[in-house]
Symmetry: D2
Subunit: 332 residues, 4 copies
C-alpha cells in the first residue's frame, strides 16, 4: 500500500530479487489503473496494475502518510495479517506524544502496545513474534544505531546532540518548493529546529536502552543529493578519561552479530552504503573536550525505510534475516 | 600572490568592481606567462599576465600554501607594504600551536605579535592600524561568528560543539581523489575527526572573547556542492532556563552595527549568501535539553576568504568597509 | 511585475547595482503584503513590499506567465510606458503561430507589429526606438547567437539541429515532479521531442537573418544543475570544404562590436558565464562529415532572461548598453 | 586486472551476486597488498587482497589503460583463457586507425582479427564462440544501439550526429582538474570537438551494420553527475515522409528478443537505468525537418562497461545471457 511513493518503489525494487516473496498486488491513491512499470519505468518487469485496494495477500507493507496508515491498516491487522507499517503511526508508545507531535488523535491507541518498533538491532525477538511492526524513521535509525552501544554501556551522559544530514528523497515524492533542484541544489539548510517529529522516537528508544530518560537535541539538514543520511552524534563522556579503544570495543561487542551494522575504522561516507541495507558506524573520542563523537551512515530509502522493512518481514516470517538484502552498494 | 587558486580568482573577481583598487600584478607558481583571462576564462577582462613575482604594488593579497606564505611575504612585510595573508601562517598567536598543527617550524615567529587576526567583527580597530592581517580560515569565520555573542555574554558553558558542512571548493583547486565529482558527488562524509587545523583558531578566538579558555569539538563535513559553509554549533546554556528571546537579543546587540553579519529569524541556507560577503546567523534555544543551537551560513570563498580579505583591506587603507562588497547573493 | 519568479528575483538582484535605476515597486500574485527581503532573503536590502499592482513607475519589467502578461501589460503599453516583457506573448510575429504553440488566442495581436524581439545582437536599433520589447526565451538566445553568423554568411544549409542542455531554474519556481532534486538530480533527460515552444522563435529569427525559411530540429534536455544553458548546434556546411578558420573569422566579424558575446578559442562551459550577461560562442568544423558545430553557453537567468532585459532597457532608455551588467561570472 | 578503477569495482559489485562465478583474484598496479574491502569499502564482503599479478583463474576481466591492456593480456590470451578486455586495444579492426587515435603502435595487431567487438546486440554469435572480447566503449554502446536499427533498415542517410552527455565517472578514477566537483559541478561543458577516440568505434560498427561507410559527428559533454550517458542522435531520413510509427516498428523488431534493450514510448532518463544493464532507446521523427531523433540511455559503468562485460562472459561461457544481471535500477 502506498506503492507510488519512494519507499513503495524501493520495496518493489528490492523484493523483485527476494527469493521467498512475490509482489502480487500494489495499491495507492495515485496512479490507480496504471501499470506499475509505466508509473515507475525502472519497475517495468513487474506485471502489475496499481489498484485502489489490495488483492488477497499474505503480508503487507504500507508506505502511507501518518494517520492514514493506521486507518487503512486496521482491517488487515484485525484479520491477523503480518503488517509492516512504514508510517509513524505505531512508533511512539505514548499516544499523548503521538498526538502532540502529529497534531491528530491516534486512530487506534489500543494497538500501540502490540506494535513492535522495528529496529532489529534492539528488538529482534519481539519482531519475530509479532504481527505489527512499526518501521522506524530514517533519521531515528541512524541516530539510535549511532548511540545505543554507548548508552547501553553507560559511557555517556544522557543528554546528547544528533546532527543529521539527509538527501532530499527523505522528504518524499510530493513536489514542494524546498526540495526542488533549483532551491535545494548547490546549498544546504538546517530545518525543524523547533522540534522534528523524529526526535521523540530517538528519545523513546535511547531511553529504553538506557533504562532511564535520555534527552536529545536533534537538528536535521537538507543536502543537495538524493539518497543518504549521515548522522554525527555528540555526547559528553561519563568519565572524561575514557579511552577510544574501550569505546570502539563496546561498539564492536554490541554489534558483533549484526548482519547490517558495520563498525568501521575510518570515517564513513553515505556513498559506501547507497542502495544497500548496511549502516556504518564510526565511534571516536575527542580527548580535548571529553566527548564521544559517532558518525553513522545509511541509505534513507533502504536501511532507513524499505530495506529495514524487508529485514523485519524476514524476521516475522522466519526467513533468514538477510534474505533478499545481499546487494552491495552502488558506488560511485 | 597565489593568483591561480580559488581564493586568488575570487579576489580578482571582486576587486574588478572595487572603485578604489586596480589589480595591476598577479603572481603564481602555476600558469606563469599565461594571461589571467586564459587561465580563468571568467577573468577575461583583466589585461594581465601571470608572473613569477609581483611587480611594484601598493597592497598585497596572498593566497599561498602555509609556510610558503610567510617566507614569500617577508620581504614585503619588511618594506612596510600592507599585506593580507590568506594562509594560516599568522593566525595562531602561539608558535608552538602552529608547529604542532602544521608540522613545520614557524618561519618568522617574531611577526606573530604584529599580525592581526582579520575578523573585523572582533578586531576592527587593530586591523585598521596594522600592516599584516592574518585572514581567518573559512570554517573559523563561520564558527566564531556563530558563537562569539553567546560566549561574550556568558550565556553558554565554554565547551562547545561545532559541526560544519562545506562545499568542495574549500579544499582548493589541486585535484585530489576525495574532491572529484564521482567521489564527492551524491554523498557526504565527515573528515579530520582526530583534529582539523582550523580548530585551534576557533579555540584561540573564542577564548579571547571569553577571557577564559574555551574547548571546541570541531567536525567538518564535505558536501556535494561547490560553495558554501553551514555551521551548526551546540552549547550547554549556563542557565538552563535562559529564554530564546534573551539569546536573540544578545546576538542582535552584538552585531547591531555589523555590515556583513545578519541575525536572521528563520534558519538560513548557504544559497542565500552565495557570492556575497554576508554571514547569516540564526541563534535558537532547545528548551528540552538546555542547549543553545546556532546556525551560521557564509560563502567560503567570499566571507570565508576573498571577501573578508577585501573587507580587511578596506579597513587597513581607510576605505569605507563595504566598498566593492555590495554585491547581492547569486540565488538560486 | 511577477517579482516572485526566478527572473523577477534576478532582475532585482542585478538592478540593485544599476547606477541609473531604482526599483521602486514590485508586484506579484504570490507573496502580496510580504517584504521582498522576506520572500527572497538574498534581496533583504530592498525596502519594498510586494503588492498586487504596481505603483507609479517609469519602466516595467514583466516576468509573468504567457497570456497573463499581454493582458496585464496592455494598460501600461497604451500609456506609453517602456515595457520589457519576459513572457512569450510578443515574441512570435505571427499570431497563428502563437496560438498553435500556446493554445490560446492572442490577447492583442495588433501589438505584435510594434513589439521588437529583444535580442540586441540582431535588433539593436529597433530596440532603442521602441516601447515594447519581447525579451527572448533562454533557449532561443543561446541557439540564435550560436547560428546567426553562419546563417547570415550563408555558410550552412538552412536545416539545423539545436541540442540544448539547461539547468532546472529554466523551468521556473513552481514546484513540479520533474524538477525536484530527487528526480532531476544525478540524471539527465530529453523532453519536448514533439516540439518545444521555443522552437518557433528560433525559426523566426534565423529565417529573418537568412532572408529565407530555416528549419530547426530542437531538443532540450534537463540537467542536474541550477543555472546555465549549453547549446550544441549542428549544420551541414554549404560547401563541405569550408575551412574552420574562415568560419571563425565570420563569427569574429559578426560579433566584433558586441559587448556580451565572446567568440572563444576553447570549448566553453556554462560555469564561465554563470551570473553574468555574457554568451560565449565556440564555432568549429568537423571536416570528416562536412558539418559546422557551434557550442554556446549562457546563464539562462541572466543573458537568457533578466540580464538581457536590462540590456534592452539600457538601449530603450539611452543608457550605455552595459550599464549595471559589468559583473564577472561567479566561478567556481 | 585493473581492479582499482571504477569498471573494476563495478565488476566486483555485480559478480558478487553472479551465481556461476566467484571472484578469486584481483590485480592492479595501485593498492597492491591492501584488502579489496579496505580499498573500496562497499566491497568489504570480498575476502581478497589486491595483488600485482593474477592467481590461477578461469576467466579474466581487464580494466586497464589502453596499450597496457594488450601487453599484459597477451600471455593469458595465448594460453587460451577467455578474456574480456574493457580497454580500447582490440576494438578497432584497423591497426592504422588504432595508431592514429591512440598515438601508439598496436602491440599485437595479429590478434585484432580474432577479437570480437563485444556488443551482443550485433555480435552475439561470434562472442559465444570467441576467446577474446573487446568490450565496447560507453559512448559507442549508447550511440550504436541508438542508430543500428535505422541504419540496418536504411531509414536514414549515413552521415549522422551523435550528441552524448555523460557523468564524470566515465573519465575514470584518476584525479584531474576537469572532473573535480568544484569544476564539473553546477556546469556543463563540451569536449573533444576535434575528435574523440570513441568516434571510430561508432563509425566501424555502424558501417558494418550498413554494409557501407557511415560518417559520424560525435560530440561528448561532461555533466554534473556521477553515472549515466544520454545520447541524442540525429539523422536525415532517407525519405522525408517516413512515418514515426514505421520507425518505431523497425526499432521494436530489431530489438524484439534483446534482454537488455528496451524501446520505450516516452523520452527516457538516465536515472531509470542507473545501476542496471539496461539500455533504453526512444526513436522519434521530426516531421518539420525530416529527421530521425533517437534518445538512448544507459549506465556507463554497467551496460557501458562492467555489466556488458559480464553479459559477454555469460555468452562466452554458455551461461544464460542475463545471469547475474537481473538487478533493477536504483531510482531515485
Amino acid at each position: 500500500m502506498g506503492a507510488t511513493g519512494y519507499a513503495g518503489a524501493e520495496l518493489a525494487r528490492i523484493l523483485y530479487r527476494h527469493p521467498r516473496v512475490r509482489v502480487t498486488s500494489v495499491a495507492s491513491i495515485e496512479g490507480v489503473g496504471q501499470r506499475l512499470g509505466d508509473y515507475f519505468p525502472h519497475l517495468r518487469p513487474f506485471d502489475l496494475t496499481i489498484k485502489e485496494e489490495l488483492d488477497e495477500v499474505e503480508v503487507i507493507f504500507a508506505g502511507l502518510p501518518h494517520a492514514v496508515a493506521a486507518k487503512l491498516l486496521l482491517p488487515y491487522i484485525e484479520r491477523g495479517l503480518p503488517v509492516i507499517d512504514l508510517s509513524a503511526d505505531f512508533r511512539l508508545k505514548d499516544p499523548a506524544e503521538y498526538e502532540s507531535w502529529y497534531k491528530t488523535e491516534h486512530p487506534r491507541p489500543e494497538l500501540l502496545k502490540e506494535a513492535v518498533y522495528g529496529l532489529p538491532e534492539l528488538h529482534r525477538e519481539e519482531i519475530a513474534g509479532c504481527r505489527l511492526v512499526a518501521n522506524p524513521g530514517c533519521y531515528p535509525t541512524s541516530a539510535i544505531l549511532a548511540l545505543a552501544p554507548a548508552v547501553k554501556a553507560g559511557l555517556i551522559e544522557r543528554n546528547v546532540v544528533v546532527d543529521s544530514k539527509s538527501g532530499t528523497s527523505g522528504a518524499g515524492r510530493s513536489p514542494g518548493l524546498t526540495t526542488m533542484l533549483a532551491e535545494a541544489g548547490e546549498g544546504i539548510s538546517a530545518y525543524a529546529l523547533a522540534g522534528h517529529r523524529h526526535m521523540p522516537e530517538i528519545v523513546q528508544e535511547l531511553s529504553l536502552v538506557a533504562g532511564a530518560p535520555c534527552r536529545v537535541t536533534f537538528v536535521p539538514h537538507l543536502l543537495p543529493m538524493v539518497r543518504g543520511i549521515l548522522t554525527t552524534a555528540y555526547a559528553s563522556l561519563s568519565q572524561e578519561s575514557t579511552a577510544e579503544k574501550d569505546v570502539k570495543e563496546a561498539y564492536r561487542e554490541f554489534y558483533k552479530d549484526e548482519p547490517f551494522v558495520r563498525v568501521v575504522d575510518a570515517p564513513p561516507q553515505t556513498k559506501h552504503v547507497r542502495g544497500s541495507n548496511f549502516c556504518t558506524v564510526y565511534p571516536t573520542v575527542d580527548p580535548r573536550t571529553g566527548r564521544l563523537i559517532v558518525v553513522s551512515c545509511l541509505d534513507n530509502l533502504v536501511k532507513g525505510a524499505a530495506g529495514q522493512a524487508i529485514q523485519n518481514m524476514n524476521l516475522m516470517l522466519g526467513f533468514p534475516e538477510t534474505t533478499g538484502l545481499e546487494e552491495l552498494s552502488l558506488y560511485p
